[in-house]
Amino acid sequence: MSILHTVNKSPFERNSLDSCLKFASQGAAVLMIEDGVYAAMTGTGVETQVKAALDRLSVYVLGPDLSARGISEDRLIEGIQVVDYAGFVDLAAKNDKVQAWL
């Protein structure tokens, strides 16, 4: 059963990303939304952790939430895919269920 995991909390404020990456199984999709998008940037304290996750998970980030926070796409970790709201819906539809790490 494939799962889409969503993370909407900053990795510097909550452990939502930690737990998500710990429990997401091989091949799962992870979508960063809202304050969760800060984890997608290069040069941060969680960059190594996110890069390691890219080896076994598909990682996505919601474009409108990046723009709202002033993060341009050239600041993103390579391999993270930017999606819009329609892409969010596609991911939710494509996977069997959605697990939200609040």
């Binding site: 900053s10 800060y38 709202a68 993060i71």
Partner: protein, 136 residues
């Protein structure tokens, strides 16, 4: 000018948009400006994200309140402090942050940018010397 002038420190620790804290803090700062007190703002932890340049909220259907930070100099805010370590762990530098000018209309004294990056020791000192701290 009222007789007693106190040092107010607004301490901001939350990212914008994900929660209402950042916006609420800004509202209180603007209200507080009417009381002629010595007002300083400090941004630590995720609060540093509030000052990031180039925010565009058109896609999320929320008000972009970030342009307001650039006007804080006009609201009696004379100093804005940003914690150095908080920037570093988030992959940010001072160049990623908005510049906020300040001018005294009477003396014509000008400061090009009142945003100052400080280390933890200086931040602690600033908290110590404040009379009142508002936490957001």
């Amino acid at each position: 000018m009222s007789e007693v002038v106190k040092k107010f420190l607004y301490l901001n620790r939350k990212a914008p948009y994900g929660t209402i804290y950042a916006w609420e803090s800004l509202e209180v700062v603007l209200i507080g400006a009417a009381f002629d007190q010595e007002v300083r703002l400090m941004f630590i932890d995720d609060g540093v994200y509030q000052l990031v340049k180039g925010q565009d909220t058109a896609g999320i259907g929320m008000k972009n309140f970030s342009p307001t930070y650039r006007t804080l100099g006009d609201y009696e805010v004379k100093r804005i402090y940003v914690d150095k370590d908080s920037l570093a762990v988030r992959g940010l530098t001072k160049e990623d942050l908005v510049e906020i000018p300040w001018e005294d209309w009477e003396t014509e004294e000008e400061i090009e940018n009142i945003v100052e990056v400080v280390d933890a020791a200086r931040a602690a000192e600033l908290m110590d010397e404040s009379d009142i701290i508002f936490s957001f």
